[in-house]
């Protein structure tokens, strides 16, 4: 009996009424929402323009900051200078080092009798 009575009660007329009378936002609210949108856009653009600066800052931080960068620069300049105008002692040192390496190698091979002439 109750079920039959409920079926006659049409909820749809209430839903239709609700759709016909929606709550509309006022002009003030629309303006606030739009201003917020434009503000977020401006902040986004600002952040995007700061991105390359930030990347360099991150790189510098990874190196150890400005003092480390100064040390690295000095080492690089010194390297270039030595390449352009090597001091006399450098050639001698290099020769000594290379010769010494060869001696060690020949001693090593001799020790195992690899290059001894067959007699």
């Amino acid at each position: 009996m109750t079920k039959k009575h409920d079926e006659k009660f049409d909820l749809n007329v209430f839903f239709d009424a609700a759709r016909q009378a929606p709550l509309e936002p006022g002009a003030d609210l629309l303006m606030k929402v739009q201003n917020q949108a434009l503000e977020v856009q401006v902040q986004g653009a600002k952040k995007a323009s700061e991105q390359p600066k930030r990347r360099f800052a991150d790189f510098l931080e990874a190196l150890g900051g400005w003092p480390s960068l100064a040390g690295l620069s000095t080492a690089a300049v010194a390297g270039v200078w030595i390449g352009v105008a090597p001091p006399d002692s450098l050639a001698l040192t290099a020769q000594t080092l290379l010769q010494s390496d060869v001696d060690v190698l020949s001693d090593f091979t001799v020790g195992f009798g690899l290059f001894e002439e067959a007699s």
């Binding site: 009660f9 209430f14 609700a18 009378a21 709550l23 936002p25 006022g26 917020q36 856009q41």
Partner: protein, 192 residues
Amino acid sequence: MPLDMSADTPDEALLILFANGDPTAARILTVRLTPRVMAHAFRLLGNRAEAEDVTQEAMLRLWRVASEWRQGEAKVTTWLYRVVANLCTDRIRRSGRTSPLEDAAEPIDEATSPADQMQTRARSDALQQALNQLPERQKQAVVLRHIEELGNPDIAEIMEISVEAVESLISRGKRALTAELKSRQQELGYSE
């Protein structure tokens, strides 16, 4: 972006344009989405001032999430309905109340007679009062199905539950609404 393209452009594409700094996309999305958000918030809260606050907050969250929006992941409206529901739930829980009905005083189609307008107003107000008595999840499901006219799969996605659970919530909600509206028919002065 030319304004005449706006009607055919999906919300998701507009949101990406917005994230790329297009001010026209911001205007179109504001005009298109704010009324839907506001109407939904009001149906869930039953209070205009609170619905306005929730609308502003939900739209602000949308603007902020725009730069991370991945196309094809979700519909903008689905995301918004979910955010609105969460914001409304937070407010209702914080205040621990069921909102009293407010006279929203919204314009109804002026082509209808004053008597019809009054009838529509009375029914809409009565429905809102009855909705305010429902548990939150039932209210949300009924509003999404019968006022926003979404399909059950969409509602299931918004509410993050199964379609069967949506059907059950709607069915229980409508039973409760029928009982409430019938019991107050005389008191509220509306007719079926």
